[in-house]
Amino acid sequence: MGLTKIGTSFENLSIRQKVLYSTIVMFLLLGTLSSVAYWLIFIPTFVDQIQQHGKQVAYSLVARSGPHILTRNQPELTFMLFQKKRIETDLSYIFITDPENRILAHTFINAVPDGISMAHPLGKNEDEGIQLIHVGENSIYDQAVAIKEGLKTIGIVHIGMDKQPVDALTTKIGLILLAVMIVIVILASLLSNLVATYISNPLSKLVQAMNDLCVGVIERLPETSDSPKCWEVLKCHRKDCPAYGKRDLACWFVDGTLCHGTAMSSAADKLGKCYQCKVYRKLTNNEIKQLSSSFNQFILTLQLKTREIKASEEKYQLLFNYDPNSSFLIDMPHGRVLDLNDPALAMYGYEKQDLIGAPFVRLFHEDDGISFLKKARETDEAYFFMPVVRAVTKEGRSFVVELHARSPKFQDSGMPFLIVSTVDITERLDQEAQLIQAGKMAILGEMATGIAHELNQPLSVIRMGADFFLKMISRRERASDEDVATVCRNISAQVERASTIIDHLRDFGRRARPELKEVDINQPIRDVFGLVGEQLKLREIVVDLDLGEGLPPIMADHNRLEQIFLNLVSNARDAMDTKVTGKEKRLTIKSCTKGGHVIASVTDTGKGMPKQVLEKIFEPFYTTKEIGKGTGLGLSITYNLVTKFNGSIKAASEPGEGTTFTLSFPIHSEEAIHGKSLVDR
C-alpha cells in the first residue's frame, strides 16, 4: 500500500526532483552502509588495536620492573612508570601492585582512587586480563599483566586506558565521516540539480512550446545549438540537392535528397537509412537536442499543414458564402447555430454575432421550429427535406422557405451536426399558386360547355315553369294551387341547384387558402361529378364510380383534390372524345385502401398513350392536344399538388385501350399530424 503510494508520488515528481531525491537517497544509503561498516568493523578493530598496544606497554613494564620489585625500590618503579606514561600519553594510569594487590608504585598524581587496586584483580592462574572498570565517572579498560619470578607472581602491572578518548576519537571520526557525507550529499544534490536542470530545462521549454501549441501558438523552439549541416558533415557540394543550405530543416526530413543511396526518395522512406547516417548520428548523442530538432521539424510540418488547411478553409468559406442559399451549421441535438453564411444573414436580417450560438429555431415560426427539431433529432437519414417552412426575419416579416438538412458522417467527428440550407420559396409559391389558379381556370374554361349544360337543365326546368305560368295566363286559366305550388317548388329546386353549381364554381375558382384537413377522398370525387356529370352524359361517357365505403381520411385540401380529379376527369373526357366508333366510353373511378395508403384510380377507355408520351406527361408545357386547346400544365400541376399532399401519382396506358391514373395518399394518423402541419398556403 504504502510502497504503491510512494511509487505514485515518485511518478508524479518532476525530473529535477527525481534526480535530486534519488541522489540524496543513494548517498544516504551509502552513508548508512559506511556508518554500519564503521561501527561494525572499524571501531572494534580500533578498540582492539588500542588494547593490544596497552598489552605491549604492560609487558614492556613487566620486563623491566622485576628487579625493582625484588629490591622494593619504589622510587625507581615510580620513575619508570612516569617515564612510560610520559611516552604513552594516552594511558590514564599505570600502577604496580604486589600479589596481594597492594600498590607499590603508581602514576596517580593527586590521589589514588579508592579501591582501584582491587578493581581488577588477576586470578591465581591468570597471567593477564583486561576488564572495563569504573573510576569516578570514567570508564577505563584495565589491562593487568602478572610479573613473574619463575612461576611465582611477584607483582601485577595495571595499565589504564581511558575509554572516553577512544569513544571521543571514534565519535570524532564518525562526525568527520558524517560531515564528509553531508558535504558529499550537498555537493551531489547541487550536481544532480545541475544535471536535472540540464535535462529538465530543455524539456520545460518543450513542454512550454507544447502548451503554446495547445492554445494555438505554433512556434519553433529557438535553436540552442547549430544542428548538423549535412553538406558540412559530408563535405557535399551538390547545390541542386533540396537539403543543401537548408538551415531550418534537418536533412533527414527533406524529401528527395541526393545523398548516396537515398536519391529521390521521400523522407518517410529514407528515414530508416538516415538513422545510420553520420549526419544524424551527430545529433543522437544528445537525445534532448534530437527531441528539440524533431519538435522543430514537427512544428515546421504543422505550420505547413496549417497553412494548407487555412487555404482550404478559406476556399470553402468562399464556397460557403458564395452559395446564394442560406446555409447553416447546426450542432445536434441542441440545435444551435455554429456557423452561417452571408446570404443567410441577408435573408434573415441578423448580424452574425446575433446568431452564432443562438437556437436555430428562432428563425422559424414556433410550430415549424418544433417540427424541424423533432425531425432532426429523430431521423436516421443522412438527408431530410421540409418543403415548406415558415421563416421569420429579425424584423418579424414572415416568408416561406424550403429546408434541406444533411447530417454529414465525418470520420472522428464527435459532435453530430447538421448542414441546413434554406431556400426562399415565397415567390415560387406565389407563382405556383398562380399557376394552379391558371390551371384551374383553364380546366374551368375547358369544362365551360359542360358546366353550361349543367346549368341549362335547371334553367330549362325554370323556363318550363315560366312557360307553364305564361300559358296559364294566356289561357286565362287558373291553375290549381297544387300545380302552382309544384311548379314553384320545382323552380325553386332548380334555382337551388343552379345556385349550388354556381357556388361550387365560385368556390373552385376562388384563390382559396389551402388548408390541410382530414378529408374523405370520395367527397371531392363526388363533387367533381356534380360539376361535370351532365356533360359526360352528353358525351355518352358512362361514369362508373366504385368508391369504397368508410375509407380512412387523408390529409389534404378538398379544393385542391377536386382540382386534381377535375383535371384527370377532363383529360379522360378528352381522351375519349376522339372515339373510335363502337367502343364503349367508360370512365371508372375507384377508391380503396391499400397498405396504409388510400388509393384512387381514374381509368378511361380512351385512345391511350404510347410509352414515350407517357414518360413526359407530367412535364410542364407538354401536351398532345392541338394548339390552343390545352395549356400543357394540367398534369404538371396535378403532379405537384399530389406531391404536396405527400401522395404519388402514376400513369399506366395502353394505346387504344385507355389510360389509368393511380393516386396514392398516406392514411392520416395522429403521428403524421405533428410531422406536417402545413403543405401549402
Binding site: 518532476s14 598524581i109 570514567n138 562526525l175 553531508i182 550537498i186 529538465s200 524539456l203
Partner: protein
C-alpha cells in the same frame, strides 16, 4: 517547471543541525575532574609546602644549604605569627640528587602530604623529571636551584624561576672573557645529564655570538668522579678557558688534576657548582677559579639588608652553619614564597597564589635588585655576579684589573 531549492536547503539544514548536536554532545563528554586546584595543603593553622632535594650524597651541600637558608626565613616568619595565622610547614624529602627519587618524593608530596605548593627544588636532572607531574597536578613550583633552560622554555604556568639561567651566567662570562681578555679558545667540561648538557648548549650559544665554537668538550657521569678522559681531551685542545658545568666534587678533581699536570687555563664554573664548597675543597688550587653567582655575596651584609637578615637568621637557627651563596638563594626563595603567600590573601588558592606571584613587579627584596614576574614572565632576576676564589675564599669581582 517549478524550482525546489528549499528542499535541498531544508535537508542540508537538518543535517547541519544533527552535526551540531553531535558536536555539542561530544563537547559535553570532556573528561571531568582532573583539575581542582582548590586549597590543598591549606588549613586554618598551616600551609604545607613541599620540597625534594639532595640532603645527602654527593650534592648534599647544595640541598642542605638551600633548605637551611629557606628554613631560616620560614622559621622566623612562623615565629612572627605566620601568614594570616597560618604557619608555613616545609616538608622536605631527600632525593640524593637522583631523579627517580625526586619523582617519587614529588608524587608522595602531592599525593600523600597534600602540599599546597612545591618549593626550592635543587638540581636540573631532578627538577626536569617532575615537570610533567607539576603540569598535570597544576601545582605551582617556586624557586628552583637550577638555571636550566628546560625549566624556562617552553613557558610553564606553574614554574616560577627566581634566579638567572645558566645561559645568562655563561653568556655574561663568555662576554667578559672574549671582550675583556680577548681569549677565544674555550673548552666545556660538563656533567653528562640534563644539567651539563644545558650548560653545554648555553656555552655554544654564547660563543656563537662571537663566531666561536668550543675547541673541545669532555664530560663525566653524574655521581661519579671519572673526569680523566675529559681532562685529557680538553688539555689536548690547548684551551685557554674551561667552562665547567658540574658539581663541586668532580670539578675539584678536574681542576686539581689539571693543575697537577701543569694545565692552567681560566677555570670558570656556573653558580650550581656551589662556590663556597668548591673553594673549600680546592684549597690553594682554587686560586683564580671564577664562579658566576645569581645572588649577591653573603659577605655583603653591610651593604644589603636582606643579606644581613639571612646571616642573622642563619646564625639564629643554624648556628653551626656558615652563610653561602646557595644558602642565600634558598633564603631569597623563601622570602618570595612568603610574600606571595601573603599577597594571595586569606582565602588562598593555587590560582590566587599564581596571580600573586605574577603580580610582583620590581619587588624590592633588600638585595639591591627588583624582582619581576608577569603572566608571561616567570623569570624573577636576571642578575649575574662574578666571584673569584682568592686565598681560599670567594670574592666578589668588581674590577678585572688585578687579574693575573
Amino acid at each position: 517547471m517549478k524550482r525546489h531549492p528549499p528542499i535541498i536547503f531544508v535537508s542540508s539544514r537538518i543535517l547541519m543541525l544533527c552535526l551540531l548536536l553531535c558536536l555539542f554532545h561530544a563537547c559535553d563528554r570532556k573528561r571531568p575532574g582532573a583539575g581542582e586546584s582548590g586549597t590543598h595543603g591549606v588549613t586554618d593553622s598551616e600551609i604545607r609546602i613541599g620540597s625534594s632535594c639532595a640532603l645527602s650524597g654527593h650534592a648534599s651541600f647544595l640541598g642542605t644549604n638551600t633548605i637551611r637558608g629557606a628554613e631560616s626565613y620560614i622559621k622566623e616568619l612562623n615565629e612572627e605569627g605566620g601568614i594570616f595565622g597560618r604557619k608555613i610547614r616545609l616538608i622536605v624529602y631527600d632525593d640524593r640528587y637522583d631523579p627517580p627519587r625526586c619523582v617519587f618524593n614529588t608524587q608522595k608530596l602531592i599525593n600523600e602530604d597534600r602540599i599546597f605548593a612545591l618549593f626550592c627544588y635543587v638540581g636540573t636532572p631532578t627538577s626536569v623529571e617532575i615537570l610533567p607531574i607539576v603540569k598535570e597536578a597544576r601545582i605551582p613550583l617556586v624557586g628552583l636551584l637550577t638555571g636550566a633552560d628546560a625549566l624556562r622554555r617552553p613557558f610553564s604556568k606553574y614554574i616560577f624561576n627566581i634566579r638567572a639561567s645558566y645561559y645568562q651566567e655563561i653568556a655574561a662570562m663568555v662576554k667578559h672573557i672574549v671582550e675583556d681578555r680577548k681569549l677565544s679558545r674555550f673548552a666545556v667540561f660538563y656533567q653528562y645529564d640534563a644539567y651539563g648538557l644545558d650548560g653545554l648548549a648555553g656555552a655554544e650559544l654564547a660563543l656563537k655570538k662571537y663566531g666561536l665554537e668550543p675547541v673541545a668538550h669532555g664530560s663525566y657521569i653524574r655521581g661519579t668522579m671519572d673526569v680523566e678522559d675529559a681532562l685529557k681531551s680538553i688539555m689536548a685542545s690547548h684551551a685557554e678557558v674551561v667552562i665547567m658545568v658540574g658539581t663541586y666534587d668532580p670539578s675539584t678533581k678536574f681542576i686539581k688534576m689539571a693543575r697537577a699536570k701543569g694545565f692552567n687555563p681560566i677555570f670558570y664554573n656556573v653558580s650550581f657548582v656551589g662556590g663556597n664548597e668548591l673553594a673549600r675543597k680546592l684549597g690553594p688550587d682554587g686560586e683564580g677559579v671564577i664562579v658566576t653567582q645569581v645572588v649577591p655575596s653573603p659577605e655583603a651584609r653591610a651593604l644589603l639588608s636582606e643579606v644581613d637578615k639571612y646571616c642573622r637568621l642563619l646564625e639564629k637557627y643554624y648556628p653551626e652553619d656558615q652563610p653561602t651563596f646557595v644558602g642565600l638563594e634558598g633564603f631569597i626563595n623563601a622570602v618570595v614564597l612568603g610574600k606571595a603567600l601573603e599577597r594571595a590573601g586569606r582565602d588562598i588558592t593555587r590560582e590566587k597564589f599564581i596571580r600573586a606571584l605574577e603580580g610582583m613587579k620590581d619587588l624590592s627584596l633588600g638585595i639591591g635588585l627588583g624582582l619581576n614576574f608577569g603572566p608571561e614572565d616567570h623569570q624573577g632576576f636576571d642578575a649575574v655576579y662574578f666571584t673569584q676564589i682568592r686565598d681560599g675564599k670567594l670574592e666578589l669581582v668588581t674590577a678585572w684589573d688585578s687579574q693575573r
